[in-house]
C-alpha cells in the first residue's frame, strides 16, 4: 500500500515555504500534532483489533495503547457480531467474603421493591407498588443480554452477567503517532498536514494580520477535501444502504 512519510511531508512544506533545514524540528512538531489530531477522527493506521480473554469475574483487560473503543464483538463463523454497549453496568468490583473478585449475580435474583424494580427495568413510572400496569407503557424497552461497558478507572471492559463468551474481539483506536518507527500516512493526508504546518508556523511566527487567517482557511479547506476523500461513497454502497434500510413489516 502506498504511503507517505511525515518526514517527506515536512521537507515538502519547507520547500514550499523556502526555508532551510533549520526549521525542520519546528515544522515536524506541527506535523506530529496534526497527525495526532487527525488520528482521533480518521483511520490513519491506528485502528487495531485484538482478541481478549474474559475473566471469571466478567471483565477483560484493555490494551495499554487503548484510546477508545470502536467495537467489542463475538466471533460468529467468519463474522464478528457486535456486543451492545450499555452504561448502567456496575463498574465497582464485586468480591466474595475472601476478597476475590466475582461477577455480579444475575438480575433475576435481586430482590428489589417491586415498584422500584419494575420501573427501573421498564424505564418509567408504569407500575404501581403491586406490580400492576398503570398505563402509559408506550413501547417495551429491550433488555439486551450481550452487553459491555468500559471501566476507565481500572482500564477494563466490563461485561454483563449474561455475556457468556470466553473471548471477545476488541477493535479500538490507539494513538496515531509512533515514537519507535518513522510515521507514515495515507497520501490523502499529505495536503492537510502540510497546510496545518503552515498555519501553525504562521501563528508561532506572529505573522502579519490576515496571514494567519488565510493559512487557517487553506487548512480548513484541505481538511474538508481530506474528509471527503476518506469517506468516499460509491454507487454500490448507496444501494446497499438503501437495501439494508428496507425491512418487512406486519400488514394491518
Amino acid at each position: 500500500m502506498k504511503t507517505k512519510s511525515l518526514d517527506v511531508i515536512v521537507r515538502d512544506t519547507l520547500l514550499d515555504s523556502g526555508l532551510p533545514l533549520h526549521y525542520y524540528t519546528r515544522y515536524l512538531h506541527h506535523g506530529l500534532r496534526c497527525l495526532d489530531e487527525l488520528s482521533m477522527d480518521f483511520d490513519m493506521g491506528n485502528v487495531k483489533t485484538v482478541v481478549l480473554s474474559v475473566t471469571d469475574y466478567r471483565r477483560a483487560i484493555l490494551p495499554a495503547d487503548f484510546v477508545d473503543v470502536v467495537a467489542v464483538s463475538g466471533k460468529y463463523g467468519e463474522k464478528l457480531l457486535p456486543l451492545e454497549r450499555v452504561h448502567n453496568l456496575n463498574k465497582l468490583y464485586n468480591r466474595d467474603s475472601e476478597g476475590n473478585k466475582i461477577p455480579y449475580p444475575a438480575e433475576q435474583s435481586v430482590n428489589y421493591d417491586a415498584e422500584f424494580n419494575y420501573n427501573l427495568i421498564s424505564g418509567g413510572a408504569t407500575m404501581n407498588s403491586r406490580g400492576e400496569l398503570i398505563g402509559r407503557f408506550y413501547g417495551r424497552q429491550r433488555n439486551p443480554l450481550m452487553t459491555y461497558d468500559i471501566d476507565t478507572v481500572n482500564s477494563e471492559l466490563v461485561f454483563s452477567n449474561t455475556m457468556d463468551l470466553i473471548e471477545v474481539t476488541l477493535t479500538y483506536i490507539t494513538t496515531g503517532v509512533s515514537r519507535s518507527t518513522a510515521n507514515v500516512v495515507t497520501p490523502y493526508a499529505n495536503d492537510v498536514i502540510s497546510k496545518y504546518i503552515v498555519m501553525m508556523a504562521a501563528k508561532a511566527e506572529k505573522a502579519r494580520l490576515g496571514e494567519y487567517q488565510l493559512a487557517q482557511q487553506d487548512y480548513l479547506n484541505a481538511r474538508r477535501i481530506f474528509r471527503a476523500r476518506m469517506n468516499a461513497m460509491d454507487y454500490a454502497e448507496i444501494i446497499a444502504l438503501i437495501r439494508n434500510g428496507i425491512n418487512g413489516a406486519l400488514k394491518n
Partner: protein, 211 residues
C-alpha cells in the same frame, strides 16, 4: 575575486594616501590590518544576513561558508556524542551559523539541526524521536548529537564535515581566494579604514592641539 593580500594592500594604500595626507609613508602593519579585516568581514556578514532576513529571505550567503572536518567524541554516559567547534560561527536565528553537519561519507544526508532552546523542551514529546533521524544542537563550543554516532548502530561515524558561517583567516592563505561576496568588498574596506583611523590625527592637527 580577491585575496587577503589584495585587500590588505589596498587598505594600506588608501590609508596612506587619504587618512593622513601629510604623512604618506606612515603605513600600518599588514598583520594588524588582517586582524581588523577578519573582524570586519564577520560584522558585514552578519549585516548582510540580517538584511536578507528583513527582506523575508531566510538564507545565508553560501560562498561565505567554511568547511571543517571535526573528530567525534562519544559521551556514552548520556547516550550521545559531540564535536568541538573549530571556530565560533555567527549568531543567527535557529542557530543557522552552523549551516550543516554531515558524516564524512554522507554529504547529502546531513544531520537534523535542532535550535538549542528547543532541545530541553521537547524531551518526552513525540518530536524527541525525530522520525528516527539524528539531530544536533549547539551548546557552548560543542555541538552535541542526539545519539552516540560512534556506535555501529548509528553509523560508526568518527568524523563529520561541518559548514560554518564565519570568517576564519587561520583557514585561508594570503593568496587564496577570500570567500566573501564581491558586493561587500568595498564595505569591508570602508569599515577597516574607519576602525584604524579612530583616534588618529594628522601631524598638523597634533601640532595645533599642542599649541
Amino acid at each position: 575575486m580577491t585575496t587577503k593580500n589584495v585587500l590588505s594592500e589596498q587598505i594600506q594604500r588608501i590609508y596612506a594616501r587619504f587618512i593622513d595626507k601629510e604623512n604618506l609613508s606612515d603605513v600600518i602593519d599588514t598583520r594588524e590590518i588582517n586582524l581588523i579585516m577578519n573582524q570586519s568581514i564577520n560584522k558585514v556578514l552578519k549585516l548582510q544576513v540580517a538584511d536578507s532576513f528583513k527582506a523575508g529571505l531566510v538564507d545565508v550567503p553560501k560562498c561565505n561558508l567554511l568547511e571543517y572536518t571535526c573528530a567525534v567524541t562519544a559521551d556514552a554516559g548520556n547516550n550521545r556524542s559531540y564535536i568541538t567547534l573549530p571556530a565560533i560561527p555567527l549568531t543567527l536565528p535557529m542557530d543557522m551559523g552552523i549551516w550543516s553537519i554531515a558524516a564524512a561519507t554522507g554529504a547529502m544526508t546531513p544531520y537534523i539541526p535542532i535550535p538549542a532552546q528547543d532541545v530541553l523542551v521537547f524531551q518526552g514529546a513525540n518530536l524527541s524521536y525525530l522520525e528516527g533521524k539524528i539531530g544536533y544542537y549547539l551548546q557552548g563550543k560543542r555541538v552535541y548529537f542526539t545519539k552516540n554516532i560512534t556506535l555501529t548502530a548509528n553509523g560508526t561515524v568518527t568524523s563529520v564535515v561541518v559548514n560554518l558561517l564565519v570568517m576564519d583567516f587561520s583557514q585561508i592563505g594570503d593568496n587564496d581566494v577570500l570567500p566573501i561576496s564581491p558586493e561587500v568588498e568595498s564595505a569591508i574596506i570602508d569599515d577597516v579604514l574607519q576602525t584604524i583611523s579612530n583616534g588618529r590625527v594628522s601631524q598638523a592637527e597634533l601640532a595645533s592641539k599642542q599649541q
